[in-house]
């Protein structure tokens, strides 16, 4: 789950990592009163969960009241990555002397948390990683949840010539490490991490991503999800234990397992059709899930056929079959249904469906060919 910069700033502040003073505003009046309190110049930053805000014109330093109102209104009317700007961060402009990069993330292959740091911070950090990989320093946590300051000191010495900055960075990164683990982050990135006019280190921008699987123990953070960034159908699906992504095509797919769901989409494509969605009913599915899946999929007006492809493992085919039968009793189907069931409790399931007059396939290829044929009719 991504959170906004102003929310991530709250986390930094909570952990005692210095940030430029500021607040969030929804109207020019709010922005103005914040700016007066902070003193000009201030920086206005669009609060959207998409990258490249600066390059899209969503970040601006303003020097006076008139400038602030103009720029606020301009930024508020921008659309970035398809999203409108609801709020702007108003913060005291930092007199930046030098930019660094520091981030914590998980290296999946190593199964370890890594700190990535560079003396070349800013928006071009990925380019630096490609062209000058030696300028990117990586520090592995070795499974520890607190910063090993002695080992880290070697990295700090490569980043900062000044011993005072080395020590100050070590303290701040220690705090960032604490935040990362305590808040179940998969990313905590400060970019740029800057030295200001007073010669002190502070965070000028921050990006935090929380592990969705960790949200059950982060009740406070889970309430901060900005629902605007999720498709309402996708959210509803998630709420009902389904994994759903809407696509452009006309073959609705209900599948168990992410791999087979992707494989089914690929197969539809290979046979000359276009998948309308990715939908994984998950393992251990109860009949209710099929009903919910059908309801969500059928809302899409482009749908010409629904293809149900189930390979029973932990999902039992009879659960799916009773879900289909319940759904058919409740929903008026306007498009044909192509059902393929194989695996755990397959025979019982087929008998249930055949009794109700539904035909079933055992072969995925046959079912996909049939579904594509019906969709292209």
């Amino acid at each position: 789950m991504k959170i906004h910069e102003y929310q991530a700033r709250d986390l930094l502040a909570q952990y005692g990592i210095p940030i430029a003073e500021g607040g969030v505003a929804q109207s020019p009046q709010e922005a103005l009163s914040l700016a007066k309190k902070l003193g000009f110049p201030v920086v206005l930053k669009a609060q959207v969960l998409v990258g490249g805000r600066g390059k899209a014109g969503g970040v601006k330093v303003v020097a006076d009241e008139a400038d602030l109102v103009n720029q606020f209104n301009r930024i508020k009317n921008l659309t970035m990555g398809g999203y409108t700007v609801e709020r702007l961060l108003v913060a005291r402009a930092i007199d930046i002397r030098k930019e660094y990069y520091v981030a914590l993330t998980v290296d999946n292959i190593k199964g370890d948390v890594v700190i990535i740091a560079s003396g070349e911070g800013g928006v071009d950090i990925e380019e630096t990683a490609k062209t000058n990989p030696e300028k990117i320093l990586k520090f592995y946590m070795h499974g520890e949840k607190i910063l090993d300051e002695r080992r880290w000191a070697l990295v700090a010495a490569q980043l900062f010539a000044d011993t005072r900055l080395q020590m100050s960075a070590t303290v701040m990164i220690g705090k960032l490490v604490k935040l990362f683990f305590e808040k179940d982050c998969t990313l905590a990135e400060i970019n740029p991490f800057v030295v200001n006019g007073e010669g002190n280190l502070m965070a000028a921008d921050v990006k935090v991503i929380i592990d969705d699987n960790g949200l059950f123990r982060q009740p406070e953070l889970s309430q901060r999800r900005d629902l605007k960034y999720d498709d309402p159908d996708e959210l509803e699906a998630k709420d009902k234990g389904l994994s759903f992504v809407k696509l452009e095509g006309n073959v609705g797919c209900i599948v168990n397992g992410a791999g087979l769901a992707m494989g089914t989409m690929d197969a539809v494509n290979l046979m000359g059709g276009t998948p309308a969605n990715f939908l994984d009913v998950g393992g251990s599915s109860n009949p209710e899930k099929v009903l919910n899946a059908l309801k969500i999929i059928l809302r899409n007006p482009s749908i010409k056929v629904v293809l149900i492809n189930i390979f029973g493992g932990i999902t039992r085919c009879d659960d799916i079959a009773s879900g289909i039968l319940t759904a058919l009793a409740q929903i008026k189907m306007t498009v044909p249904l192509v059902i393929r069931l194989t695996g755990t409790n397959e025979a019982v399931a087929k008998e249930m469906l055949n009794k109700a007059g539904l035909t079933t396939f055992s072969s995925m290829r046959q079912a996909v060919v049939e579904a594509v044929k019906l969709a292209n009719k």
Binding site: V106, D184, N213, A258, F278, G313, G343, T344, M364
Partner: protein
């Protein structure tokens, strides 16, 4: 022969009294797996399907001499279940549970890697989490895959997916091509066993004649597998990669791009595997033909 598990594997089920745990205990017993015990804290002393239930892995290990454990407990308890197995010296741990926080897995990985060579005492291998488990057809099944679609034989199957693996195995079986072992690695970012580990075991297993790998978009495992195949694997390998039509993944700040190496689209993986001499097929039911061709 087979890899990792056979008729002598003695399995305990963690979460044996839950809905999934009890259902699949029955299924595993029916398949012939030696399920020698179960663990549910607070329910020790009960019996389920004739299997004794214990309060802890320690008790179960002492009473049953189990050497493998399969985990069906909810995500929030899964880390402790795995750590308990590692502490008690269980050789093979199979974690079916999905939705485990990634930082819990970092902790698990550290405990797994604390081997005697580095001063630790871990002697465990983890399969999963978020995986279907593994099976050596006709000998032992640990996990949730439907047993009847498998057939003893000499194709090794290794996969990151669950149900897509069943699809591939089913197609092999209906074409009378049996399997030595089928291993589901799991779909999570941090997993205990990766493609390269299993590819090595299959290459070293005298009864495995050819290998099928099933991959998907995301991560760098298929690239690592391709490099390993070039340098180590002499047996024929066929692969299916899912996700050619999946929408592009979501970006994770800059750090994700810095830490991950290269292109993780299905197309890129297919190409890199082809370049390593792997038969990359388009539809799961084309695997039997590819295998038959390579085995002649």
């Amino acid at each position: 022969m087979s890899i990792l598990i056979d008729q002598n594997t003695r399995v305990i089920v963690q979460g044996i009294t839950g809905r999934d745990g009890s259902f699949h205990t029955k299924q595993m017993l029916e398949y012939g797996t030696k399920v020698v015990g179960g663990v549910t804290p607070g329910k020790g002393g009960q019996q389920l399907e004739g299997v004794p239930v214990f309060n802890s892995v320690k008790e179960a290990r002492a009473a049953t001499r189990c050497n493998a454990a399969v985990i069906y407990v909810p995500a929030k308890f899964a880390k402790d279940a795995i750590l308990e197995d590692i502490q008690n010296g269980i050789e093979l741990i199979v974690c079916i549970t999905e939705g485990i926080p990634v930082l819990d897995m970092v902790e698990v990985k550290k405990a797994l890697d604390a081997r005697p060579a580095v001063g630790g005492s871990s002697q465990s291998r983890l399969i999963g989490p978020n995986c279907p488990g593994l099976i050596s057809p006709g000998k032992c099944k640990i996990g949730i895959m439907p047993g009847h679609i498998h057939k003893p034989g000499n194709i090794g199957v290794v996969s990151r997916s669950g149900t897509l693996t069943y699809e591939v195995v089913y197609n092999l079986t209906i074409h009378h091509i049996g399997q030595s072992s089928c291993v589901g690695l799991g779909g999570d970012p941090i997993i205990g066993t990766r493609f390269v580990d299993v590819l090595k075991m299959f290459q070293d297993d005298p009864d495995t004649k050819a290998i099928v790998m099933v991959g998907e978009i995301g991560g760098g495992d298929e690239q690592m597998a391709a490099d390993f195949i070039k340098s180590y694997v002499k047996k024929p390998v066929a692969a299916f990669i899912a996700g050619r039509t999946a929408p592009a993944g979501k970006r994770m700040g800059h750090a994700g791009a810095i830490i991950s190496s290269g292109d993780s689209t299905a197309q890129a993986k297919m190409q890199i595997l082809k370049d390593a001499g792997v038969d990359v097929i388009d539809f799961p039911d084309e695997i039997p033909q590819a295998m038959a061709k390579r085995l002649l």
